[in-house]
Symmetry: C2
Subunit: 219 residues, 2 copies
DNA sequence: CGTTAACTTGAAAGAAATCAAATCTGGTGG
DNA sequence: CCACCAGATTTGATTTCTTTCAAGTTAACG
């Protein structure tokens, strides 16, 4: 008797690169566990200033807003062809009755809040090289946590996206990537990135002035 | 028969300037509506980087954490002699059963999240003068919302606090305040501040390059 | 009244942004 | 299949902004 309601295969949504999954200030009607691809979160202030606030990978849940916010706090935009589930808010609420699910969602929200604070302190007080090192280490850790490839990371975002996330310009990001590569911390060819010396990157992240834009003075 | 349980006058806590109401990572056992004084919120990353994430005024509720986080995400430190109520978590939970209270608390949390995003975009993409203008306008709005004095604001925080909040150095903040004063946007004498030209400050906040550290070129 | 912390101001150095070309890439249409 | 194009990326030169370093000055507090 059940009509075509896909009981075990909930609704999916496919996105092209650049397409918005949802936009800031729209009412929250569903949450979107990401299956394939990658998504960036973008905040736009009333005056038009934009800032990327995070990148999401498969396994992350897009649209999860803290404290049941009625509207999305950021836009979610696909970095590449992507696919996600669509879990209507009502369904999500029902799932939350399971304490284990509830706890898991809270854990996601807490981690997100922590990340937000880390991003703030990073942008607020670290030099460009340290900020970039932080992002690279973070990306590597995320990929590792998912078991995706070992070391070789395909960046889904552009230099501009990275710059917006870190509060820098795309030129600075490009230069720093080249610089990191030239001192053997990474190898990078456009979007293909490999972390060669993770310990070294950690050092850059921790200690200021280890890597700057200009190379060692030959004088 | 009731022992000395202050039914109508809940427990109060007094703080001296510089004293911590609670510290980051401590378990949340109570929330603290601020009655008098002022408090700064400070986040410290694992590597020791610090960042002020906000200032609280009487009427704000310190210790309110998003999504029932079990530990405080930031430390709360008194900027001056202050006094706050102490509402044990259990009591707070009971209050929350009142839908109106619940909604009010959610509203506070949502506003806080919005502020966090605004701070991020401000630090991430604005010039120093714009950042400071934002803070001053924000402070003025907060004071106005509370009906506190008209225009004349007593800043509770040091230049260093402002700098940490905005991702600048104290010298830059000091210079900019002087500069704002010299072009007639504000008057400032140490902590005593008055906004003379709010529209002008808005313009500085919106349009880049209206005010820079060096004055007009006399050439 | 003196000591200390906060604040202001100047000069110099340094970091990142801006301006300006090249170069590379993936995808498109011929 | 290949030439071409728009967007992405790299790299260099220059400019601008902010920090850093260094004194002074002022204000708060015991």
């Amino acid at each position: 008797m059940l009509p075509d309601r896909p009981a075990l295969s909930p609704e999916r949504k496919h996105l092209q690169a650049g397409e918005a999954l949802f936009r800031q200030d729209q009412p929250v009607r569903a949450v979107y566990p990401l299956r394939h691809g990658g998504i960036k979160r973008m905040y736009e202030s009333a005056l038009g200033w934009r800032q990327l606030t995070g990148f999401m990978l498969p396994g992350d849940v897009a649209g999860l807003e803290p404290n049941d916010a009625p509207q999305f706090g950021t836009s979610a935009i696909a970095l590449q062809a992507s696919e996600c589930c669509v879990v209507p808010l009502e369904t999500a609420k029902r799932c939350e009755e399971d304490p284990a699910v509830h706890a898991a969602l809270l854990a996601l929200l807490h981690r997100d809040a922590l990340r937000q604070r880390e991003l703030l302190v990073t942008i607020g007080s670290m030099k460009a090289a340290q900020r970039l090192a932080m992002l690279l280490l973070d990306q590597a850790a995320e990929h590792r946590r998912r078991g995706t490839d070992g070391g070789e990371v395909m960046l889904a975002m552009t230099r501009n996206d990275i710059a917006s996330y870190l509060g820098l310009t795309l030129e600075t990001v490009s230069r720093l990537l080249s610089r990191f590569a030239s001192v053997g911390l990474i190898t990078v060819r456009h979007r293909q990135l490999r972390i060669v010396d993770e310990k070294g990157l950690s050092d850059v992240h921790a200690e200021a002035d280890r890597i700057t834009l200009r190379g060692p003075d030959p004088a």
